[in-house]
């Protein structure tokens, strides 16, 4: 069984003192920022990217992934205890989890969340181990046209599945690609969009863009409605579940795990979509839907399993195809590139210790999180009392030194300031900045594959539709767009006619 050999290799990498240490730091930081509202995984990972330069690639990736799935755990703790979801993926958990806490069952809710997350995390990690290598092998057979089509499909799907206006999200993707093309052209060395500034010859620094939009911009948004956070913490007791509870959560956890695993693979999916979908499914199939919203344990188990599974499987397209399905994965690809690793299907075969090491570390990290979360809940809750007005200046300071240390160049600091304003304005105009980041990361690859494909086809654009795989993928992309656009078009038409 090759997979067991591979997993053994992975564990041999992950179970070294150094990597266990970085895994621990990752999940600890993840839980921390998951607990703290107003600070999510994206700015945290962006802030830590520069620090990972000095680490070996495996340790860097292990730590950064730990932050991502650790944040899912931490977010649910605050959602249950004080009805304040630390992460957007725990919004759903707050609905029934907080009600359970108010009924004095906070312990049961937290235990359910932890068990559900751990089970889902383990299963999804296993799925990742099983499905990633064949997918990567398949992707290796792709030529430039297939790759181009795959990237277009990925970008379109991430837009289609996201909330809000599709047209605006598409515009953000295109804007992101354009920004991503800045710097010297790979083929001719011609500087593009650099305004004759030598510092911009390498293009806009990815870390500066990400930190500006998601770090600085987010801070300003949080300062907008600065209200006193009153923390009323429910007493936590009785972490053990009763037999009846266990019976009630098995089904939701299983369903949540598989739903989350599936949705996590899709671009634009990941943790948020998974948790929402799991909640509505549980409510639909429940014999007592009226209990949802009033402290139903199923409403905690399903979404918690789903968001963790989704967080885990969203690594599949990132590691096998080099295509990010959400901003966190875009940052991971950034981390790979910084480490000198070309993201794509070759990672699985050429860097087996990296690939399997990350997978094994995920399982270890999930185990750590269970241990970390249940006994230490008191400490996490106390952290919530750190007020935001103390916290955010420190984040600004961190962003500054972090972005500067990437290239030791002040231009990156100014770029971050600019994109902080840009990010804030975009959010104010209801333009989601996440697609922009995806476009930025994919942009250069997209152009390269387009150019290569056109070179091969001697300038004939029909090549994308005569090759079956690429035609299928582009067809799917168009279909996704049409489906998403149709209802809203219809709705808006009706409104227009009513005038």
């Amino acid at each position: 069984m090759e997979i067991f050999d591979n997993l053994a290799l992975g564990f041999s990498v992950a179970v070294t003192f150094q990597n266990i240490f970085y895994c621990f730091i990752g999940v600890l930081l993840g839980t921390l920022i998951g607990v703290l509202p107003g600070l999510g995984p994206v700015p945290t990972i962006a802030m830590l990217l520069p620090i990972t330069f000095g680490l070996p690639p495996v340790s860097a990736l292990i730590m950064l992934s730990g932050i991502y799935y650790g944040a899912q755990y931490g977010g649910s703790t605050t959602a249950i205890l004080i009805n304040l979801p630390g992460e957007s993926s725990s919004v759903v958990t707050a609905i029934d989890g907080y009600q359970m806490a108010r009924q004095g069952r906070a312990g049961a809710a937290l235990a359910t969340a932890a068990i559900g997350s751990f089970f889902a995390g383990s299963v999804a990690t296993f799925l990742l181990a099983v499905f990633a290598p064949p997918l990567a092998d398949l992707a290796l057979k792709f030529g430039p046209p297939e790759y181009f089509a795959l990237m277009v499909l990925g970008l379109v799907a991430s837009v289609a599945l996201a909330s809000g206006s599709v047209v605006k999200a598409l515009a953000m993707v295109v804007l992101g690609i354009l920004l991503g093309l800045s710097g010297q052209d790979v083929y001719t060395g011609t500087p593009r969009f650099t305004f004759d500034m030598l510092e911009l010859a390498d293009g806009i620094e990815f870390v500066a863009l990400a930190m500006g939009v998601f770090g600085i911009g987010e801070i300003v948004r949080n300062l907008e409605d600065e209200h006193t956070r009153t923390v009323m913490v429910q007493k936590v007791k009785g972490l053990l579940l009763s037999k009846e509870d266990i019976k009630r959560i098995i089904g939701p956890i299983l369903r949540g795990t598989f739903l989350g695993s599936f949705l996590g693979i899709l671009p634009g999916g990941g943790a948020i979509l998974s948790s929402f979908a799991a909640y509505s499914i549980e409510k639909k199939i429940s014999r007592h839907p009226e209990k949802f919203g009033k402290g139903a344990i199923e409403g905690v188990a399903g979404p918690e399993a789903a968001n963790n599974a989704g967080a885990q499987t969203s690594f599949i397209p990132m590691l096998t195809l080099g295509i990010p399905s959400n901003p966190v994965m875009a940052l991971m690809i950034g981390a790979l590139i910084i480490q000198g690793i070309v993201p794509g299907p070759n990672v699985v075969n050429e860097q087996p210790s990296l690939f399997w090491g990350i997978i094994a570390s995920m399982w270890i990290g999930n185990l750590m999180l269970v241990v970390l979360n249940l006994p230490l809940i008191g400490i996490w809750v106390r952290l919530l009392t750190v007020p935001y007005h103390i916290l955010f200046p420190l984040i600004v300071g961190f962003c500054c030194i972090g972005v500067y240390s990437v290239n030791n160049n002040a231009i990156d600091v100014f770029t971050m300031a600019l994109f902080g304003v840009v990010g804030y304005v975009l959010v104010k105009l209801d333009c989601e900045p996440a697609p922009l980041l995806l476009g930025f990361i994919i942009g250069p690859m997209l152009e390269e594959y387009l150019r290569r494909a056109m070179l091969i086809s001697r300038g004939d654009p029909t090549v994308f539709f005569t090759r079956p795989i690429s035609a299928t993928m582009l067809g799917l992309a168009i279909l996704a767009l049409v489906v998403v656009l149709l209802p809203s078009v219809r709705k808006k038409r009706e409104e227009a006619f009513q005038e």
Binding site: V174, L175, Y388, L394, A410, V413, M416, K491
Partner: protein
Amino acid sequence: MTRFVKNSKEVASGLLIVFLAAFFAWQAMGLPMGRAIRMGPGYFPMILAGLLGLLGLIVLLTGLTLHPVEDENETQKIGFRRWPWVPLGLVTLAVVVFGLGIRPLGLGPSMGLAVFLSTLASRRFKLTTALLSSFIMVAFSWAVFIKGLGLPLPMLGPWLGGY
């Protein structure tokens, strides 16, 4: 104006996107286009700029013609007056000051200044906590970035007698 512009947020987004598209197109004009078989550096950006402009026009037209869905008072308006101009300005200023100061002043002063300027952005500003935060962050960044990670950064820059 309000009767003509149905959804000011959409219109503003549309205008912004069209403007950006025009900007990128203008920048791409100076680049060699090449032909489809051997694309020059300007080929793909030009296509994208065109696509961006088209998308921007769609957003703009939607905002001009279609009536907003929910209550039109809150969600569709931009509400420039309620924007947090002061925090936005201060936080941006803090970052810019850090960028300007890092070379001549060194890490210590520029970090202190940046953190202090940001604390001013909060309505709950207190001088003691602000100074304390700045001090902690300076000490922390010294410990982590200079001592721990060994970044080639002086605590005090050449203007302050450092190197």
